[in-house]
């Protein structure tokens, strides 16, 4: 037995002992949560068997969980429960007296069409259902995006570049409006794809990408702060719930 293998066994023994002691002191659920957290954190060092164990457990359990949720929270109440409520009365008694909705036959048929891809001969039929899903959503989104991301955005950018308040000229608000106006115009220029970015147009595009990068920098810092709060939550679990060092 080489030294590396021996070290691995020693570490495994320590982990097992710590796990057993922790269960005795803190209970099963807290211990499992804490150890899985540590296993996932161990990826920061490098890939290792403990991370692999946590990863496979996480992936397998979550896939099974979402499949189960998909059946009990979507198919049972939204499909079977609406097609023929008495069928699911034993599982969801609240639906028992609801009227049947024959229109739900359409999603049922689409769902069956999607499953046809399991057949090597009739797999092409599944494309009809996919086309329906993608096409419907794209059509609905066109109007939604045009309203919220286009017209409403234009409306929000139409403002006075010379701002006054009760005491007269408002320098801060004026500068802010000028920056927003210039930033939006230059940003739009950057996203022109059918014209080469040369000359004055190119200068506008370069200004646009600078504006975008400054925006991304601010967004980066803001989001990192939010992520730190997630880390704090895990630390509170480890040092509070598990080790009891934080009261």
């Amino acid at each position: 037995m080489n030294a590396g293998k021996l070290l691995s066994y020693i570490i495994l023994a320590i982990v097992v002992i710590a796990f057993v002691v922790s269960i005795a002191l803190k209970g099963f659920l807290v211990t499992v949560g804490a150890f899985l957290t540590l296993f996932i954190f161990s990826f920061l060092y490098k890939d290792n068997p403990y991370y692999k164990f946590a990863e496979h457990l996480f992936v397998g359990a979550s896939a099974a969980y979402w499949m189960s949720m998909g059946f009990w929270k979507t198919m049972v109440p939204n499909l079977f429960g609406k097609l023929y409520p008495p069928m699911v009365a034993w599982a969801v008694p609240a639906l028992k007296n609801n009227p049947a909705q024959p229109l739900m036959l359409i999603p049922l048929v689409l769902g069956i069409l999607l499953l046809m891809r399991l057949s090597s001969k009739a797999g092409w039929i599944s494309r009809w259902a996919l086309a329906f899903i993608v096409g419907t959503t794209a059509g609905l989104n066109l109007v939604r995006y045009l309203r919220s991301d286009f017209i409403q955005q234009i409306n929000n950018t139409v403002f006075s570049l010379y701002v006054t308040n009760a005491s007269g000229f408002d320098l801060g608000a004026t500068i802010s409006n000028v920056i927003i106006f210039g930033g939006v115009i230059c940003g739009l220029i950057y996203f022109f794809f059918s014209k080469e970015h040369k000359g004055a147009f190119g200068a506008g595009a370069r200004t646009g990408i600078i504006v975008l990068m400054i925006t991304f920098g601010a967004s980066f810092g803001y989001t990192v702060m939010a992520r730190i709060s997630l880390l704090v939550g895990r630390m509170q679990f480890l040092f509070g719930d598990w080790l009891g060092m934080i009261r």
Binding site: I40, F43, K46, D47, Y51, K52, A54, E55, F58, V59, G60, A61, S62, A63, W66, M67, G70, L114, R117, S126, R127, L130, I133, V134, T136, T137, A138, N141, V143, L146, R147, F150, I151, Q153, I154, N155, T157, V158, F159, S160, Y162, F181, I185, L188, I189, F191, F192, F193, S194, K195, E196, H197, L212, M213, F216, G217, S219, F220, T223, R227
Partner: protein, 409 residues
């Protein structure tokens, strides 16, 4: 001794007299107070129903009721209770309440006749508003009405959206037809897409696989749809170079579409025998479990090139950092503004927002995509013109222009 006794008796009598006097005075005061509290409380005035406005641009069944109330009584009123009936002497049904100080109520009725809250269109409706004071006194208003609601076929507040859709459709159809006729529609080069061939070549030279991540969007997300086109192009090159490709999926429907895309690409490249459904596989539907799975794939398979193209959320930095740590060349793109910064810092090339859609058109050279992209550019030009004109109009005090661009929901 007797004198002392007399003194004690005397003081006791005096003390008794004083106590009796005080007690009598107190009882007199309490009686006076109780007399005050028993005096009748001035009832609050009646609310006066002023109007019932039909909400415009809807299917009816919605009415805004307005009433007036003396301002000096605002502090004394806890709430107003709103009732509706079909006739002045009908059965008034309680609809809801408004807090004191609020003098309007939006009555959203049901259009279903069997619903207790059914509110018919084009029929007389009568309302009553009860003011409830802090002391619990309730005062009913006179019956207000008749008011009516009506439905409209056309939502006038969405005219700008209609104009936008029509214009965009015209541009798109025109440019698609132009592209189909063979007109050369120029698209400027995108650094991230120019690097695709280089990235695939690198993986081939190194004998390592290529990892293509479609993100956590559904098959109907625009970013995912754009990513499918790029995946087709990447898969075709991969098939030509006989490099390994791995496409782990978050969504089962995305997986189905991706399998079709990759299969078609292999067929197009003349290598159908090399395609296997195992190239494109489902991992899990849980966001961070999906990330953990992909991270595992990265550190074990050590892909030379990673593509992250599609819809991404909080997992973007975890994926990009892991890819960076294994030395893979990384090309990313998403339309999620909050995730782009993470890709910018951790990836070699990033397609920012709409560049992802442009990339699919640039690679595919499909007239449909090229036409749509060209139409988008025209849309942007119109947006710029509208903004500039709008700012000038506002500067000259012509607010009607801005009002025209307001979308009323």
């Amino acid at each position: 001794m007797k004198d002392r006794l007399k003194l004690v008796v005397f003081l006791t009598v005096i003390a008794f007299i004083i106590q009796a006097t005080v007690a009598f005075a107190q009882s007199e005061g309490e009686t006076a107070d109780s007399v005050i509290s028993e005096q009748p409380v001035t009832p609050p005035p009646k609310p006066v129903i002023v109007s019932g406005e039909d909400i415009p641009n809807d299917n009816g069944h919605k009415l805004k009721l307005n009433w007036e109330y003396p301002a000096e009584w605002n502090d004394s009123i806890v709430r107003f209770e709103i009732y509706r009936a079909d006739s002045p002497d009908g059965d008034f049904r309680r609809l809801g309440e408004a807090a004191g100080g609020i003098f309007s109520y939006l009555d959203i009725g049901s259009k279903k006749k069997d619903d207790p809250n059914y509110m018919p269109n084009d029929q007389n409706l009568y309302y009553r508003v009860d003011a409830v004071s802090k002391s619990g006194v309730t005062v009913q208003s006179e019956i207000g009405g008749p008011f009516q609601t009506s439905g409209q076929w056309f939502h006038k507040g969405k005219v700008p959206v209609l104009i936008g859709v029509v214009l965009f459709a015209i541009f798109t159809i025109y440019f698609i037809r132009s592209a189909r006729k063979g007109k050369d529609l120029y698209i400027r080069p995108l650094a991230g897409i120019e690097a695709v061939d280089e990235a695939i070549g690198r993986a081939t030279e190194m004998g390592k696989p290529i990892l293509y991540v479609l993100g956590i969007g559904g098959a109907s997300d625009i970013a995912t749809i754009a990513s499918f086109t790029i995946l087709g192009r990447v898969a075709k090159k991969v098939a030509e170079y006989q490099t390994a490709l791995t496409v782990p999926c978050y969504d089962p429907i995305v997986m189905s579409v991706a399998q079709d895309v990759v299969r078609s690409a292999y067929l197009e490249a003349g290598r159908p025998d090399q395609y296997s459904d195992d190239l494109v596989f489902f991992v899990t539907n849980a966001q961070f479990a999906y990330v953990a799975g992909i991270n595992g794939i990265m550190v074990r398979d050590l892909p030379a090139t990673n593509f992250y193209l599609g819809y991404f959320a909080a997992e973007s930095l975890i994926l990009a950092e892991t890819g960076n740590s294994i030395g893979a060349i990384q090309i990313a793109g998403t339309d999620q503004i909050t995730q782009i910064p993470f890709f910018v810092v951790a990836c070699d090339y990033t397609l920012i927002g709409e560049e992802l859609y442009a990339a699919s058109a640039y690679l595919g050279r499909d007239p449909l995509l090229l036409g749509a992209l060209k139409a988008e550019d025209w849309g942007k030009a119109i947006a710029m013109v509208l903004i500039i004109v709008g700012v000038l109009a506002t500067a000259f005090g012509w607010d009607a222009f801005r009002e025209f661009l307001r979308v009323n929901l």
